[in-house]
Symmetry: C2
Subunit: 525 residues, 2 copies
Amino acid sequence: MSETESRAGRRGGREARRAMRAAPLADNQRPVWPGLEGGRYKPLTDADIQKIHHAALDVLENIGMADAIPSGIEVMTKVGAKLQSNGRLTFPRALIEDTLAKAARKFPLYAQDPRYDMEPWGSKVYFGTAGAAVHIVDPITGDYRESTTKDLYDIARIVDTLDHIHFFQRAIVCRELTDPFEMDFNTCYASVFGTTKHVGTSWVAPEQLEASLQMLHAIAGGEDKWRERPFVSQSNCFVVPPLKFAADACRCLEVAVRGGMPVLLLSAGQAGATAPASLAGAIVQEVAEVLAGLVYVNAIKPGAPAIFGTWCFVSDLRTGAMSGGSPEQALLSAGAAQMGQFYDLTAGTASGMTDSKIPDAQAGYEKAYNHALVGNAGANLIYESAGMHASLLGYCLESLLIDNDIIGAVQRTIKGIEVTDESIAMETIRQTCLEGPGHYLGADQTLRLMQTEYVYPLVGDRTTPKEWVEQGRPGIVDRAIRKTRQILTNHFPAHISMAVDDSIRERFPVRLPREAMRKTAAAAE
Amino acid sequence: MSETESRAGRRGGREARRAMRAAPLADNQRPVWPGLEGGRYKPLTDADIQKIHHAALDVLENIGMADAIPSGIEVMTKVGAKLQSNGRLTFPRALIEDTLAKAARKFPLYAQDPRYDMEPWGSKVYFGTAGAAVHIVDPITGDYRESTTKDLYDIARIVDTLDHIHFFQRAIVCRELTDPFEMDFNTCYASVFGTTKHVGTSWVAPEQLEASLQMLHAIAGGEDKWRERPFVSQSNCFVVPPLKFAADACRCLEVAVRGGMPVLLLSAGQAGATAPASLAGAIVQEVAEVLAGLVYVNAIKPGAPAIFGTWCFVSDLRTGAMSGGSPEQALLSAGAAQMGQFYDLTAGTASGMTDSKIPDAQAGYEKAYNHALVGNAGANLIYESAGMHASLLGYCLESLLIDNDIIGAVQRTIKGIEVTDESIAMETIRQTCLEGPGHYLGADQTLRLMQTEYVYPLVGDRTTPKEWVEQGRPGIVDRAIRKTRQILTNHFPAHISMAVDDSIRERFPVRLPREAMRKTAAAAE
């Protein structure tokens, strides 16, 4: 709240009060806010970073990428990539350096509501969802059931209300939709209707992306308006590690870049399976792959917005299964974030996946040490950060609320310790000890810092054991269930007009029933 | 295992195999080990550290400490402290600098079993228990019952078996013992009989400490042997923040220093209550208090071993209650660790307390983000790191096992990412992509790194949802309960001979029954 707004508020006008409530609190009046600057945790030294960078260039120059599609070969060879006799595309160092020089930097990721626009560069950190879970997890019984379009819409609605989830990327697969066109289209539909925050999603074929773009143009009020503020980005797995292009994804990549849609260049190798088991080797391969993607994007359209998406996953080497909650995962994602910073690109990575099937202590600790380290490393966009279980196979709506608390706390650590003459508090210490009451409970400083320096949980509990027993000994899951129900009963975003929705429903096979999108008498009970 | 030992093993001698099993694996054959070097997370800049240091010197010079006991005043004024007309002791900057110059550095903390000796200096990190919880928590029902000597012994036995808990400090109060002498003596007894790892505990009066020292001499085989390898340190709350000496603790401090027992100089202010609400101010006050304690110790005996114990706690400013699981706690403890490193002293701090009353997701995440950051900041001795709940009011044996997994994972992050020509894996990538199977599952490197680069949980779960359902959907608490029961049924340390125990029982009121200290037919069932 600016000084002006604050004064307006004091004048007591109804409009002014309404404006105040609508406007977010100014950053300095909240303990944490989106885009806090990380970078105090550095798993890689500068020398490590150089070594990884040069190794990635070697990989691209000498090994290169297999399976490029003809249109990709055409645009990439035109800028200097070489098609080798073994069918692989290799990338001379000069091409990578040239690409890095012209790649898009400092592009905002827009939201339907401009309050949620993000500026994910430098060491600024934003947290969001992501994933393609195929199950919804019941937090009490541990039941895993198939996820639906309605679930996706509900997750988006919950994200829309949570302070510490800054963007929404499609988290689950709409499994009741067997037609790929319907699935991709409705995934995008449920996401953009469910939240006004920035949305990310993916497509398996250009046709469904073209259709979705038409919907997005309609929502934006025209293609020009969409291109001014593209509020949906494409999560694009353009690579099948190790070092092979994915044909379908590449076709969608080309459409997105030409359609003004930012692209998350996502390489999701798994150390020990599709990437080297050594953490450094896994990062080298991922960096090489994403740099190849960056060449691709810039060959189509120089300076098109692309996110450096090194998502190095981890295998449990005993079984080969993914271990998203492992500490090796924290190291890989934090190291990957540092590489993105080194290139001064928007660095997107994954954190907060857990191997646990339910929101138990394991889910809590695996998410938390990953977030604490990846966040403090200064990753710009942290995907998979809330709700995910079973190493990306299951999604739990109640966990979203729990994870929102984890992220709020981690953001407080990212904000760090302010060391100034005022915060050193010499005069407060002197007065308290020599003149005052011998404690700081009622000190001016204490009251002043209550809202700005301390963050409080939404579903986390800080009662005494006595109070807790009186409340019936609730665990955090109990509180999350209650709060989730409240949100789903009451929060139905209405930022897209009925008329626009009608026009979309006339042209496309929308499968989310209107009834699911508004408060009903039954739901309100 | 060294090359020599390995060859001996292959020769097949029974003795050699026995020696191999007894010897710990060499560090480079395990993924993590005690004393890994942290320091990659730095919440404070060098300038911040300087500012805090100088402010702490100002506090000591201008405000000083109240309530020193006569013997303390005598030794401290002798080295240069000033007794002011308001009764406070102040400390000229030169005295602090002089003290810092002669303070003990690089002293090991010994264990009854030399395998567990610690070298807590530089940025080496060790995790242990601590606390004075008054309740034992049932992890299923959430029942809080009064803690007993038997519980303390059981906790020590569990710690004795866990890889990632490196020392044992008294965690609970023996509440059935109402006599202070019996309580202090038996606390020490149950601890040193329950584990061969380094023990920390505290005393409220010199008499019980003197008696305990006699026991420790007997266990060591004489006072000289004890003084050579003191395997118990004294946790000493010599200060009542803000800036007042605690009389009883000071008396015990003097006995410990003269008795060759390392002292943990513990200042446990609570930001917003007994320390400033600003995090920087809280650290300033704590640093000043512990420096005063350091003057005290070195005034008694120059170079006596003392641990720089800045345990800055946090208040929830809305209620004044302690919030041990808060993110502000992580910042305070990590910042305090940096201050200890700045002084090149052994830095002890607290991490892993949770506000949750039970081992739920909240307990998991609060412990994990604290450990991840405090551990990576390079705190030398991390107390309160396992088992604690309800901001130090409750202790849960099963949580010890869960927290052991958290610490193992955090240690893996402390070990970091090795970036060498070998780990860069260029040749492995080349072979896999150009000649090999297109994946790394069976690569030489993968098999080689399975044990050394990846850490695996003890009670954490990595099964697939399908396997998990087949197992009956256990949460981590279920697995911890089973494993805890196994340990308590089977692990009874017998490192102290029956004869020594007899001699102790003859002279002192030991209240832990012999039956609790050995496997019974019933227990073995």
